[in-house]
Protein backbone atom coordinates (compact mmCIF):
# COMPACT_ATOMS: atom_id res chain seq x y z
CA UNK A 1 0.00 0.00 0.00
CA UNK A 2 1.34 3.44 -0.84
CA UNK A 3 1.37 6.51 1.40
CA UNK A 4 -1.25 8.27 -0.69
CA UNK A 5 -3.82 5.60 0.18
CA UNK A 6 -2.90 5.74 3.86
CA UNK A 7 -3.23 9.55 3.86
CA UNK A 8 -6.71 9.22 2.38
CA UNK A 9 -7.90 6.38 4.64
CA UNK A 10 -6.71 8.02 7.89
CA UNK A 11 -7.48 11.60 6.77
CA UNK A 12 -3.90 12.65 7.50
CA UNK A 13 -2.64 16.14 6.76
CA UNK A 14 0.43 16.22 4.50
CA UNK A 15 2.87 18.78 5.95
CA UNK A 16 6.04 18.04 3.95
CA UNK A 17 7.25 16.24 0.82
CA UNK A 18 3.77 15.96 -0.71
CA UNK A 19 5.42 14.81 -3.94
CA UNK A 20 6.75 11.61 -2.33
CA UNK A 21 3.51 9.78 -1.53
CA UNK A 22 3.74 7.11 -4.22
CA UNK A 23 6.18 5.00 -2.26
CA UNK A 24 4.98 1.60 -1.04
CA UNK A 25 4.98 1.22 2.76
CA UNK A 26 6.76 -1.98 3.85
CA UNK A 27 5.53 -1.94 7.45
CA UNK A 28 5.04 0.24 10.50
CA UNK A 29 6.92 1.16 13.65
CA UNK A 30 5.87 3.29 16.62
CA UNK A 31 8.07 4.81 19.33
CA UNK A 32 9.00 8.23 20.69
CA UNK A 33 12.50 7.16 21.68
CA UNK A 34 14.68 7.91 18.67
CA UNK A 35 17.37 5.47 19.70
CA UNK A 36 14.81 2.64 19.63
CA UNK A 37 13.64 3.72 16.19
CA UNK A 38 17.23 3.67 14.95
CA UNK A 39 17.64 0.14 16.27
CA UNK A 40 14.36 -1.32 15.00
CA UNK A 41 12.63 0.52 12.15
CA UNK A 42 13.43 -0.66 8.65
CA UNK A 43 13.70 0.96 5.22
CA UNK A 44 10.30 1.73 3.73
CA UNK A 45 8.54 1.69 7.11
CA UNK A 46 6.04 4.31 8.22
CA UNK A 47 7.03 5.66 11.64
CA UNK A 48 4.36 6.84 14.09
CA UNK A 49 5.51 9.26 16.82
CA UNK A 50 4.51 12.37 18.71
CA UNK A 51 7.95 13.95 18.49
CA UNK A 52 8.14 17.08 16.34
CA UNK A 53 11.84 17.90 16.71
CA UNK A 54 14.08 18.10 13.57
CA UNK A 55 15.94 15.02 14.83
CA UNK A 56 13.04 12.88 13.59
CA UNK A 57 13.88 13.84 10.00
CA UNK A 58 17.51 12.87 10.50
CA UNK A 59 16.46 9.46 11.82
CA UNK A 60 13.95 8.94 8.98
CA UNK A 61 16.55 9.96 6.41
CA UNK A 62 19.23 7.74 7.95
CA UNK A 63 16.92 4.70 7.84
CA UNK A 64 15.33 5.59 4.49
CA UNK A 65 11.84 5.42 5.99
CA UNK A 66 8.77 5.94 3.78
CA UNK A 67 7.48 8.71 6.02
CA UNK A 68 6.31 9.82 9.44
CA UNK A 69 2.96 10.24 11.12
CA UNK A 70 3.13 12.86 13.89
CA UNK A 71 0.22 12.22 16.25
CA UNK A 72 -1.87 13.91 18.95
CA UNK A 73 -2.12 17.21 17.11
CA UNK A 74 1.56 18.00 17.62
CA UNK A 75 2.73 20.73 15.24
CA UNK A 76 6.19 19.81 13.96
CA UNK A 77 8.81 22.57 14.33
CA UNK A 78 9.22 24.76 11.21
CA UNK A 79 12.81 23.47 10.98
CA UNK A 80 11.46 19.91 10.95
CA UNK A 81 9.17 20.67 8.03
CA UNK A 82 11.78 22.51 5.95
CA UNK A 83 14.31 19.72 6.56
CA UNK A 84 11.76 17.07 5.64
CA UNK A 85 11.01 18.96 2.43
CA UNK A 86 14.73 19.04 1.57
CA UNK A 87 15.22 15.38 2.40
CA UNK A 88 12.00 14.32 0.67
CA UNK A 89 10.59 12.70 3.83
CA UNK A 90 6.79 12.98 3.97
CA UNK A 91 5.48 14.35 7.29
CA UNK A 92 1.84 13.49 7.95
CA UNK A 93 -0.03 14.89 10.95
CA UNK A 94 -3.19 13.88 12.76
CA UNK A 95 -5.09 14.71 15.95
CA UNK A 96 -5.45 10.97 16.62
CA UNK A 97 -3.35 9.24 19.27
CA UNK A 98 -0.49 6.93 18.33
CA UNK A 99 -2.54 3.96 19.57
CA UNK A 100 -5.43 4.75 17.26
CA UNK A 101 -3.20 5.43 14.25
CA UNK A 102 -1.40 2.11 14.71
CA UNK A 103 -4.73 0.30 15.07
CA UNK A 104 -5.99 1.79 11.84
CA UNK A 105 -2.77 0.98 10.01
CA UNK A 106 -3.10 -2.65 11.10
CA UNK A 107 -6.70 -2.64 9.88
CA UNK A 108 -5.38 -1.50 6.50
CA UNK A 109 -2.97 -4.44 6.46
CA UNK A 110 0.26 -2.58 7.33
CA UNK A 111 2.24 -5.07 9.44
CA UNK A 112 4.47 -4.36 12.42
CA UNK A 113 8.20 -5.03 12.45
CA UNK A 114 9.44 -7.92 14.57
CA UNK A 115 13.04 -8.93 14.61
Amino acid sequence: MDLKTIVRELALEVRAAAGNLERPVTGGYASDLLSCVMAKAQAGNLWVTLQGHPNIVAVASLLNLAGLVVTEGVTPDPATLSRAEEEGIPILTTPLTTYTVVGRLFALGIPGVER
Partner: protein, 182 residues
Amino acid sequence: MRELSLHILDALQNSLEAGANRVELEIEEDPLADRLHITIRDNGRGMSAEQLARAFDPFYTTRKTRHVGLGLPLFKAAAQRCNGDVTLTSQEGRGTTLEATFQYSHIDRAPLGDMARTLLAFLLAGRSDLAYRHRRGGREFAFDTAEIRTALGGLPFSHPEVRRWLEEFIAEGEASLEEPMR
Protein backbone atom coordinates in the same frame (compact mmCIF):
# COMPACT_ATOMS: atom_id res chain seq x y z
CA MET B 1 18.07 6.69 24.81
CA ARG B 2 16.78 4.63 27.68
CA GLU B 3 19.77 5.46 29.88
CA LEU B 4 21.79 8.66 30.21
CA SER B 5 24.98 6.59 30.38
CA LEU B 6 24.55 5.89 26.66
CA HIS B 7 24.60 9.63 25.91
CA ILE B 8 27.64 9.95 28.16
CA LEU B 9 29.45 7.12 26.37
CA ASP B 10 28.66 8.72 23.03
CA ALA B 11 30.08 12.06 24.19
CA LEU B 12 33.17 10.33 25.63
CA GLN B 13 33.72 8.70 22.25
CA ASN B 14 33.62 12.16 20.65
CA SER B 15 36.45 13.13 23.00
CA LEU B 16 38.49 10.10 21.89
CA GLU B 17 37.85 10.95 18.24
CA ALA B 18 39.05 14.48 18.96
CA GLY B 19 42.36 12.96 20.07
CA ALA B 20 41.97 13.68 23.79
CA ASN B 21 44.33 11.88 26.14
CA ARG B 22 42.73 13.23 29.29
CA VAL B 23 39.02 13.54 29.97
CA GLU B 24 37.32 14.76 33.12
CA LEU B 25 33.82 13.47 33.76
CA GLU B 26 31.76 14.87 36.60
CA ILE B 27 28.29 13.71 37.49
CA GLU B 28 26.47 15.57 40.22
CA GLU B 29 23.08 14.35 41.36
CA ASP B 30 21.50 16.98 43.55
CA PRO B 31 18.01 15.87 44.59
CA LEU B 32 17.61 18.87 46.94
CA ALA B 33 18.16 21.42 44.16
CA ASP B 34 16.36 19.01 41.80
CA ARG B 35 19.21 19.15 39.27
CA LEU B 36 21.43 16.61 37.60
CA HIS B 37 24.67 18.01 36.15
CA ILE B 38 27.00 16.16 33.82
CA THR B 39 30.26 17.80 32.74
CA ILE B 40 32.71 16.29 30.26
CA ARG B 41 35.93 18.22 29.76
CA ASP B 42 38.56 17.00 27.28
CA ASN B 43 41.94 18.17 26.01
CA GLY B 44 41.29 17.13 22.40
CA ARG B 45 41.78 19.25 19.34
CA GLY B 46 38.69 21.35 20.03
CA MET B 47 36.27 22.78 17.55
CA SER B 48 36.21 25.82 15.31
CA ALA B 49 33.44 28.39 15.73
CA GLU B 50 31.79 26.99 12.62
CA GLN B 51 31.93 23.40 13.90
CA LEU B 52 30.61 24.53 17.27
CA ALA B 53 27.71 26.39 15.67
CA ARG B 54 26.62 23.23 13.88
CA ALA B 55 27.39 20.63 16.55
CA PHE B 56 23.71 20.18 17.45
CA ASP B 57 22.51 20.07 13.85
CA PRO B 58 21.69 16.42 13.08
CA PHE B 59 22.55 16.97 9.43
CA TYR B 60 26.10 17.95 10.28
CA THR B 61 28.73 15.33 11.03
CA THR B 62 32.47 14.94 10.68
CA ARG B 63 31.75 11.33 9.79
CA LYS B 64 32.35 10.42 6.15
CA THR B 65 30.17 7.32 5.96
CA ARG B 66 26.76 8.97 6.34
CA HIS B 67 25.30 12.43 6.22
CA VAL B 68 23.66 12.63 9.63
CA GLY B 69 25.13 12.66 13.14
CA LEU B 70 22.66 12.23 15.97
CA GLY B 71 24.76 11.84 19.11
CA LEU B 72 24.74 15.42 20.36
CA PRO B 73 21.31 16.37 18.97
CA LEU B 74 19.71 13.45 20.84
CA PHE B 75 21.55 14.30 24.07
CA LYS B 76 20.37 17.92 23.84
CA ALA B 77 16.79 16.93 23.03
CA ALA B 78 16.74 14.55 26.02
CA ALA B 79 17.95 17.33 28.34
CA GLN B 80 15.57 19.96 26.97
CA ARG B 81 12.65 17.57 27.42
CA CYS B 82 13.56 17.59 31.14
CA ASN B 83 13.84 21.37 31.65
CA GLY B 84 17.58 21.26 31.07
CA ASP B 85 20.03 21.70 28.23
CA VAL B 86 23.32 20.56 26.74
CA THR B 87 25.88 23.23 25.88
CA LEU B 88 29.37 23.06 24.39
CA THR B 89 32.30 25.39 24.77
CA SER B 90 35.50 24.80 22.89
CA GLN B 91 38.86 26.28 22.04
CA GLU B 92 40.73 25.00 19.03
CA GLY B 93 43.86 23.19 20.08
CA ARG B 94 42.81 23.25 23.75
CA GLY B 95 39.78 21.06 24.12
CA THR B 96 36.03 20.94 24.45
CA THR B 97 33.71 21.07 27.45
CA LEU B 98 30.20 19.66 27.39
CA GLU B 99 27.75 20.57 30.11
CA ALA B 100 24.41 18.82 30.46
CA THR B 101 21.71 19.62 32.99
CA PHE B 102 18.44 17.88 33.70
CA GLN B 103 15.63 18.44 36.17
CA TYR B 104 16.45 15.57 38.51
CA SER B 105 12.85 14.57 39.29
CA HIS B 106 11.47 15.09 35.77
CA ILE B 107 9.25 12.17 34.81
CA ASP B 108 10.87 11.86 31.37
CA ARG B 109 14.43 11.90 32.70
CA ALA B 110 16.03 8.57 31.86
CA PRO B 111 17.91 6.84 34.67
CA LEU B 112 21.67 7.30 34.71
CA GLY B 113 22.18 3.63 33.86
CA ASP B 114 25.21 1.41 34.22
CA MET B 115 28.13 3.80 34.75
CA ALA B 116 30.58 1.00 35.56
CA ARG B 117 30.08 -0.60 32.16
CA THR B 118 30.17 2.80 30.44
CA LEU B 119 33.46 3.85 32.03
CA LEU B 120 35.04 0.47 31.32
CA ALA B 121 33.98 0.67 27.66
CA PHE B 122 35.62 4.10 27.45
CA LEU B 123 38.82 3.00 29.19
CA LEU B 124 39.17 -0.05 26.95
CA ALA B 125 38.28 1.81 23.74
CA GLY B 126 41.13 4.28 23.83
CA ARG B 127 44.27 5.34 25.61
CA SER B 128 42.82 8.40 27.26
CA ASP B 129 43.06 8.94 30.97
CA LEU B 130 39.87 9.65 32.87
CA ALA B 131 39.34 11.76 35.96
CA TYR B 132 35.94 10.74 37.29
CA ARG B 133 33.86 12.26 40.04
CA HIS B 134 30.32 11.17 40.84
CA ARG B 135 28.37 12.83 43.64
CA ARG B 136 24.96 11.88 44.83
CA GLY B 137 23.51 13.78 47.75
CA GLY B 138 26.37 13.94 50.23
CA ARG B 139 28.27 10.94 48.87
CA GLU B 140 31.11 10.89 46.40
CA PHE B 141 33.05 8.37 44.35
CA ALA B 142 36.10 9.63 42.47
CA PHE B 143 39.21 8.28 40.82
CA ASP B 144 41.86 9.30 38.31
CA THR B 145 43.20 6.66 35.95
CA ALA B 146 46.52 8.54 35.66
CA GLU B 147 47.15 7.50 39.29
CA ILE B 148 45.89 3.98 38.66
CA ARG B 149 48.19 3.65 35.63
CA THR B 150 51.21 4.65 37.70
CA ALA B 151 50.29 2.04 40.31
CA LEU B 152 49.96 -0.59 37.59
CA GLY B 153 53.51 0.03 36.38
CA GLY B 154 52.80 -0.39 32.70
CA LEU B 155 50.19 -3.14 32.76
CA PRO B 156 47.42 -2.21 30.27
CA PHE B 157 43.77 -1.85 31.33
CA SER B 158 42.94 -4.64 28.87
CA HIS B 159 45.02 -7.15 30.88
CA PRO B 160 42.39 -9.66 32.13
CA GLU B 161 43.22 -9.23 35.81
CA VAL B 162 43.47 -5.46 35.59
CA ARG B 163 40.23 -5.33 33.71
CA ARG B 164 38.48 -7.48 36.34
CA TRP B 165 39.87 -5.33 39.13
CA LEU B 166 38.77 -2.13 37.40
CA GLU B 167 35.29 -3.54 36.84
CA GLU B 168 34.94 -4.40 40.53
CA PHE B 169 36.53 -1.17 41.72
CA ILE B 170 34.14 0.98 39.69
CA ALA B 171 31.07 -1.16 40.40
CA GLU B 172 31.79 -1.00 44.17
CA GLY B 173 32.39 2.75 44.02
CA GLU B 174 29.12 3.32 42.22
CA ALA B 175 27.29 0.99 44.61
CA SER B 176 28.66 2.96 47.57
CA LEU B 177 26.59 5.93 46.37
CA GLU B 178 23.45 3.83 46.69
CA GLU B 179 23.92 2.80 50.32
CA PRO B 180 21.35 4.21 52.69
CA MET B 181 22.66 6.92 54.99
CA ARG B 182 23.45 5.62 58.46
